[in-house]
């Protein structure tokens, strides 16, 4: 039944572009599906809505991956890989090592948080070597712009906003410095029950997503336009985001699924969650990643 195809997404390019494309290209019709799209502001709320039975599918960023890893939902495929997260610092700071003792603003539990932790670890710093100041994303923008903090773990397009006021800010490290070992994957997720009870619906969903992703790789500018229109979002900012990401074709993704790369990425995240103290006992990826459904679709 089409009522079962309730889909959550976040109103930005990586999460929404596939739905904008699917709608424009009438990809749902091909599967005989009528999606019921619902916009959310973040991943965890989508997982909560799944827990309440109000949502069957969704897209989440890496920051919310610990939720499937703790059994609250299933990963049913990779969407794209983010390259928009950075550790940024005020102009006078030269390197990550200089961050010792400095105030660093970070929205906790987000990909900004992860890049910060990874970056510090790479430079041999412990969290306790710096002053972590938790704040929400727009507060980071305000605080960094007004020079209340020395550095931040944040992402584009918010960094663009800061750049307008602090043009010579330093980007100390970014996702590409950890790729491909650690990939900030954006994933499709589905409610546990729907995966168990209606795998056909899940594969239909994945098929549409695969077609959309292939279209996206082939027609990136058109995709940006479609998405900007779909979201009522500014075109330039959307385009900037789009170009800061690594988008893969369905063939490539199927390959990563088959050869265990996806599970490896997920394991990588599990390790991080354990280190961060967020999740003491994450499930092994095999238990929450519906790899075969993705391959099969």
């Amino acid at each position: 039944a089409s009522g079962d195809l309730t889909i959550g997404y976040i109103a930005d390019f990586p999460n929404a572009s596939v739905f904008a494309i699917a709608e424009d290209q009438k990809l749902w019709d091909a599967e005989g599906l009528k999606p019921d799209l619902k916009v959310f502001t973040n991943g965890p709320i989508q997982i909560q809505a799944m827990g309440a039975g109000s949502l069957n599918f969704g897209t989440i960023g890496p920051g919310a991956l610990w939720l499937p890893a703790s059994g609250r939902a299933k990963v049913i495929g990779v969407n794209d890989i983010g390259f928009s997260d950075r550790i940024i610092a005020q102009p006078e700071i030269g390197s990550i090592a200089d961050l010792k003792g400095k105030k660093i603003g970070v929205p906790q539990g987000t990909s900004g948080d992860m890049i910060l932790r990874l970056g510090l670890a790479k430079a041999g710093l412990k969290l306790s070597d710096v002053q972590i100041v938790p704040m929400d994303p727009s507060t980071v923008v305000a605080a960094f712009s007004s020079k209340q903090i020395d550095a931040a773990g944040l992402w584009y397009p918010l960094i663009d906003v800061i750049k307008a006021r602090v043009p010579n800010l330093k980007e100390l490290i970014g996702n590409k410095d950890f790729y491909p070992d650690t990939s900030f994957i954006n994933t499709y997720v589905a409610r546990n029950e729907i995966v168990a009870q209606d795998p056909k619906l899940v594969t239909s969903f994945i098929r549409v997503m695969k077609k959309a992703m292939d279209y996206r790789v082939a027609n990136i500018d058109r995709s940006v336009e479609l998405t900007a229109k779909f979201l009522n979002a500014p075109l330039q900012a959307t385009s900037n985001v789009a170009h800061s990401r690594k988008m893969l074709t369905s063939k490539e993704l199927e390959g990563f699924a088959k050869d265990g790369t996806v599970d490896k990425w997920l394991t990588q995240f599990n390790t991080m969650f354990k280190e961060f103290g967020m999740l003491p006992n994450p499930l092994p990826p095999a238990q929450y990643n519906a790899n075969d459904l993705f391959i099969q679709a």
Binding site: K38, A49, N232
Partner: protein, 270 residues
């Protein structure tokens, strides 16, 4: 000022009336001066460019743009619908509950700890619970707003009830009034000034909560639009949403004040 109010003797040169500037239109004039002043200050601050805030012109441009695309209207209507439902429901429940609390000590003892407890809990913390129990439709959104309106109004109503002049209650009782009649015909009118405080504060809370409520999978609404804008740190849109919320809240407040005037014109106000 209501028309009945003008029947009150003006008192010369002193308390209040002596300082009245006359009619309601004078009041409106001062309001406008205040708003113009506020905008001027805002323009001055932002034109200095220090704080990185958008200026009034920029926000106005964005507002016109959003209004042109009919987005602003649909957002405003969506939020207004939620706020009205949640707010009216909150008031409608708060008044009888406030009375029960003021009237029956057992009710007070049972309800008060919870009212007080839930008032200290931010709406954001209620949201997961609301989603779990009510899903992601309109219900949990309206519920969060309802809760905000209810929890503030109930305290005011309750205080109003226990402040009612005892001699009026006695006068009703010797005329044969039973509890229900005393409720309806003595306690409610006598505590109207208090209830109105609750209603006005409740209205503010309702609007302040709509942003949190629209975190729950809203597809439109001023709070929703604001959150979307936050993804891009689109300050002009954030300001347009905030100002739209403020203006709608202000208009509703004016309506409440007008109702209040009509309901309490019997009072000998200072």
């Amino acid at each position: 000022m209501s028309s009945t109010d003008s029947a009150a003797p003006p008192r010369p040169g002193g308390f209040l009336t002596g300082r009245l500037l006359g009619s309601g239109s004078a009041m409106l004039g001062i309001n406008i001066v205040a708003v113009v002043l506020g905008i001027a200050i805002w323009a001055a601050i932002t034109s200095l460019g220090v704080v990185g805030l958008p200026g009034p012109m920029e926000v106005l441009r964005k507002g016109v743009e959003l209004a042109g695309s009919a987005l602003l209207l649909s957002d405003a209507l969506a939020s207004l619908g939620r706020v009205l439902s949640g707010f009216l429901l909150g008031i409608a429940v708060a008044i009888p509950v406030g009375f029960l609390m003021g009237w029956y000590r057992i009710a007070r003892g049972l309800i008060e700890p919870y009212v007080q407890f839930f008032r200290t809990i931010p709406p954001l913390a209620i949201i997961p619970l609301a989603i779990v129990t009510m899903g992601i439709g309109e219900t949990p959104k309206i519920f969060v707003i309802f809760l905000a309106a209810f929890l503030t109004s109930v305290v005011a109503t309750y205080q109003g009830v226990i402040t009612v002049d005892r001699t009026l209650v006695n006068a009703a009782r010797v005329l044969g009034a039973k509890d229900m009649t005393i409720f309806r015909r003595v306690v409610i009118p006598a505590s109207t000034p208090f209830i109105m405080v609750g209603v006005r504060i409740g209205l503010g809370s309702s609007w302040a909560t709509v942003v949190a409520a629209e975190l729950i999978a809203a597809q439109s609404g001023l709070g929703f639009r604001m959150q979307q804008a936050q993804l891009y740190y689109d300050l002009p849109t954030i300001f347009v949403s905030l100002i739209a919320i403020g203006i709608l809240g202000l208009l509703m407040d004016r309506i409440i004040i007008a109702i209040d005037r009509a309901l309490t014109s019997w009072q000998e106000k200072a």
